[in-house]
Symmetry: C2
Subunit: 205 residues, 2 copies
């Protein structure tokens, strides 16, 4: 944002702070895109539609995002709570995995996140370019965070030295995602605990 290099405005100056106005516009754009994803889906969504819904000009969107896919990826980053952070590392792998996967379950059980995640999942099936962006920008960093935590556990001797860490990540996240996606059973913390126990039985030395 170019505005952020301007000196602070004094509170007595008339008119809104341009940085706060920018921030409000960004939020309105992301809110509009999130709503349209759920209502009309990615394919039928347009930059014009987002701009109209957000009450901004189309050029305001293009100032920050090159394409609607880029906007929608940011919607999802925001829903997912920002960029992929490293997993907690307390030295107890089972406890750390329970913490993270219970939080994931809580997110999936939030109607807004559920709605947007399902809209994303549907679009990933329809649109290969969008699928690639989602995989590279959202999913891989997320899976890498799991993998790093498992690597540290492997170094600490908590999991087998010859465990395939990519498959190990899928063993933890795949069943939970499957249950959420296909709505076969409720997602609960108890379920997470059973899953972590089973996966660690598979991975221990």
């Amino acid at each position: 944002m170019a505005e952020s290099t301007a000196p602070d405005r004094t509170p007595t100056r008339r008119g809104p702070d341009p940085r706060r106005r920018s921030e409000r516009a960004r939020t309105a754009i992301l809110d509009a895109a999130a709503a349209l994803m759920g209502e009309v889906g990615f394919a039928r969504m347009t930059m014009e539609g987002i701009a109209a819904r957000a009450g901004v000009g189309k050029q305001t969107i293009y100032r920050w995002w090159p394409s609607k896919a880029a906007v929608v990826l940011d919607v999802f980053q925001r829903e997912a709570g920002g960029d992929s952070e490293p997993l907690p590392d307390t030295g107890d792998l089972a406890a750390d995995l329970r913490t993270v996967l219970r939080a994931t379950v809580d997110e999936y059980n939030t109607p807004e996140t559920d709605r947007i995640s399902r809209a994303f999942t549907a679009e990933v099936q329809h649109d290969e370019d969008f699928a690639r962006a989602v995989t590279e920008d959202l999913l891989r960093p997320h899976m890498r965070a799991y993998k790093e935590r498992l690597r540290s556990a492997r170094e600490a001797g908590e999991i087998s030295p010859d465990a395939d860490l990519d498959v190990a990540v899928e063993l933890l996240t795949g069943p939970l995602h499957h249950r959420w996606l296909l709505r076969t059973a409720p997602l609960t913390h108890d379920y997470v605990d059973v899953l972590v126990d089973l996966a660690l039985r598979a991975l221990r030395p």
Copy 2:
């Protein structure tokens, strides 16, 4: 099909055999529905559209299926090779799981099955009624077949007596489905073998 109660027509009788004509109509309807699922998706597909594409009257479709969801479920049953059959039971759980999951991978790697499965996955996210039908009519019978095979393995002492069989099924199918759905890595027979080994380490007594 009411026609099947009629006596066989002799080959000398003029005109097509009505049972064969019915069978051709059914096939044309399922082909049309499969094509439309991929092209316009479930939500925008109509019975009229299926009828026009199949070259039959709409009443011909209603003779066999009450709704477009019912037609589309039959498309998928056909793609999936009919109703859920029991898993093989040779007495060697690992070998049987490898056989079945390798066949699943081969199916996913078939462009036509991939296309229809992705169309289904997208629709399940959009439409809760369709989701329920898919879960109850396709997915649960499929998961039950795995569960029965695991139960027989548990009785044979191949897996732990206190293993949660529902979670065990997801441990086998979830990671593979995750990899297919999110296109994170290729689906190969080697991957299946690693996955089966890991899952059985988790489940063994």
